[in-house]
Structures are given as structure tokens and as C-alpha cells.
Symmetry: C2
Subunit: 199 residues, 2 copies
């Protein structure tokens, strides 16, 4: 026996391609498939195919959706005067869990990063600008990630959109609720002091 | 948006079924599929199906194989007088990496565990006994896992096979090579002292 048999080898390879899955974990996961039933493997395979085939981008907000227009954009109860701009769909989910935000979203699918060759054309910025033409949107809340790329993107978008007459805001920086000040890094603490509010 | 869209939800569920994969990891893995190409998802789905459809049990040793008779059993260079009995295919792979062992294998597909309802009939013990009928096999090396179930299985098999006139041996217990004696547990140390050898 030279290493693994081919179909097993291939399955291990597929698991290894996943982010954060090393060789040993991939072997363990592949064996768990072998130990499961054929129906289970078929259901898994179908779920993979369906995820790629049935999930499209919402024509309005560019978020992933199983319909042309996503459930947020098609919800008449959402506040159409506000758009929260995020880097990816995971951020939309995180914000939806808060339940406080009732506006719409716009998913950029990335952040500006000249080092990685990601400029404005690689993001859905054109689609965002197009949403501002009818004058209904009054505020853009920039919720890109609090890192260099996210910051760069926020500054870029802010310069681009302010001349269009909309209010442009940014998520507040500060110490995380429930966290311990001891563990906050200096930049976060500096931003928290800078953004201090009167009680 | 109530939670995730359905095809994504289903894919997350499939990843969550895998051993050691929690919800957050499952979400991350599912998104990595969405970010990949459709061809990649198809290759993954095909690998899952192939693993279940093309992998069978070797008719002789019961190890997983992509042919009726596995590459070890069909290799004329292997020593047919010795069978190493293991609990699963992963153990065969571990032993094959050593390259010192040139005999055959027998995969039990489990270990005796009355608590979990696993008796002799749930293992491939009948197939093992059948391999001893032609008198070619002279030694059975029991390499079940060094835990209660593995021990119970080894003792059971030993009692069953000794009357058949074969030598029955067991892997040696002791401190792992390269390990630190400080870290060895008491039972292992006790076994290492008990099994000490003259220099």
C-alpha cells in the first residue's frame, strides 16, 4: 500500500483545500465520510453543488441571496433612507443579529488593497453609487473592517460620496462591551479615549 | 433576513456534522465554498461521491480498498505467515509508514464494547478465523488500541485463536520514543517497567 487509495487521497485533498484544515484533520474528516452512509455523502455533495448553483448576488445590495432580490432589499419594513456598507456577507449576518439596524445594506465583496491588486473596480462601488441616484438614500453608514484595508476603503468611499449630498458615517471605535480594559490594545484604547462621551 | 439563506444553511449543517467542526468553523468553511469557483465545488462533491462509491472492503483483510483485493493482500512480496490485527484502516496506514512490517493485515472495523452493543458479530472476526483454516498463517500480531476496548478485544481474540495452533502476540507497551518520561502517565510507566529488557 503506497499511501492512501486514490478516491480517499482525493477526498483528503479536497478537505485540505479548506481554510484552517491541515492534513491530519483532513484525514479525520475524510474517514468520517467513509464511515457515514452513502446517503449522507450524497446529501453533502448536493449541498455543495446547491450552494454554488442556487446562491446568487442580490441585484440591489450585492449580498448573497437565493433570489434575484434578497430578503432584506425586498422587505417593505426596512428603512430605505439608510445603507450600511460592509465588506462581506458575514458582516451583514453579524449586524442582522443585533436587530437594531433596520436600514439596507451594500456588500462590497472586499476592501481596497493595492498590494493585492484590489482597486475600486474589483469592488461593487459602481453599484453602490447607482443606488444613490434616486435621492431616497440620506445616510451611508460605513461598516468596513477596523483594519488598514477597511479604513482605506472607508476614507475612499467617504470622499466619493460626500459630494453626492448624503450623510456619511462610520461605526464607532472603542473598547468592546464585556471585554476587559487590560486586554484592549493601545490603538483601540486611544480611539476609545478620543471618542469619549459625556455622561 | 432570518438567519442564513437556505442553500447556505444546508451547507453549514453538512459541515457541522463532521467530527470536531463547530458552528463557527462550519460557517467559515461554507463561505470558503461560496468564494471558490463552481468547478472547485463540483470537484469536492465528486470526491465525496467517489469516496463512498469506489471504496469497498478488501475481500481478504477487510481493509478499505479500491479493488476487490487490496494492494497489500495482492502483493506477492508480503509475508503470508503473519497477520497483524487492527481496529481500523487508519492503524494500517500508521503501521505501513513504519515500513518494517511485511506481513498481512486484518481490519476488525471496531473493538469489542458491550456498553455500545458491539459484540464479536459486529466485527470481522468470522472473516479472520476463516483466514486461518489453510494453515499458512503462523502468527497473529494483535495491534488493537491500548485502551479498555482494545485490550478486551485482544484478550478475546487471543483465547479464540490460541487453540487453533497459531502464535498470538501483542504490540509492546512502553514509553514512546522521543517522549519525555516526565510526561508519561503512570500506567504506561508501569507497563514500561514490567516489560523492561536486559541491555
Amino acid at each position: 500500500m503506497q499511501g492512501y487509495i486514490l478516491p480517499l487521497e482525493k477526498l483528503i485533498e479536497q478537505f485540505e483545500r479548506l481554510p484552517g484544515i491541515g492534513h491530519k484533520t483532513a484525514v479525520r474528516l475524510a474517514f468520517s465520510i467513509l464511515e457515514g452512509s452513502e446517503e449522507e455523502a450524497q446529501a453533502f455533495a448536493q449541498a455543495l453543488l446547491d450552494a454554488k448553483q442556487k446562491i446568487v448576488r442580490c441585484k440591489i445590495c450585492q449580498n448573497i441571496s437565493d433570489a434575484e432580490i434578497c430578503s432584506v432589499c425586498s422587505d417593505p419594513k426596512r428603512d430605505r433612507t439608510m445603507i450600511c456598507v460592509v465588506e462581506d456577507s458575514k458582516a451583514v449576518m453579524a449586524l442582522e443579529r443585533v436587530k437594531e439596524y433596520t436600514g439596507l445594506y451594500h456588500v462590497l465583496h472586499g476592501a481596497l488593497s493595492p498590494m493585492d491588486g484590489i482597486g475600486p473596480d474589483q469592488l461593487t462601488i459602481r453599484e453602490l453609487i447607482a443606488r444613490l441616484t434616486d435621492g431616497e438614500v440620506r445616510e451611508i453608514l460605513l461598516a468596513t473592517n477596523p483594519n488598514i484595508e477597511g479604513e482605506t476603503t472607508a476614507v475612499y468611499l467617504s470622499k466619493l460620496m460626500k459630494p453626492l449630498g448624503v450623510r456619511v458615517s462610520r461605526l464607532a471605535y472603542g473598547v468592546p462591551v464585556g471585554g476587559d480594559i487590560d486586554y484592549a490594545d493601545e490603538v483601540t484604547l486611544f480611539r476609545a479615549i478620543e471618542g469619549r462621551r459625556d455622561l
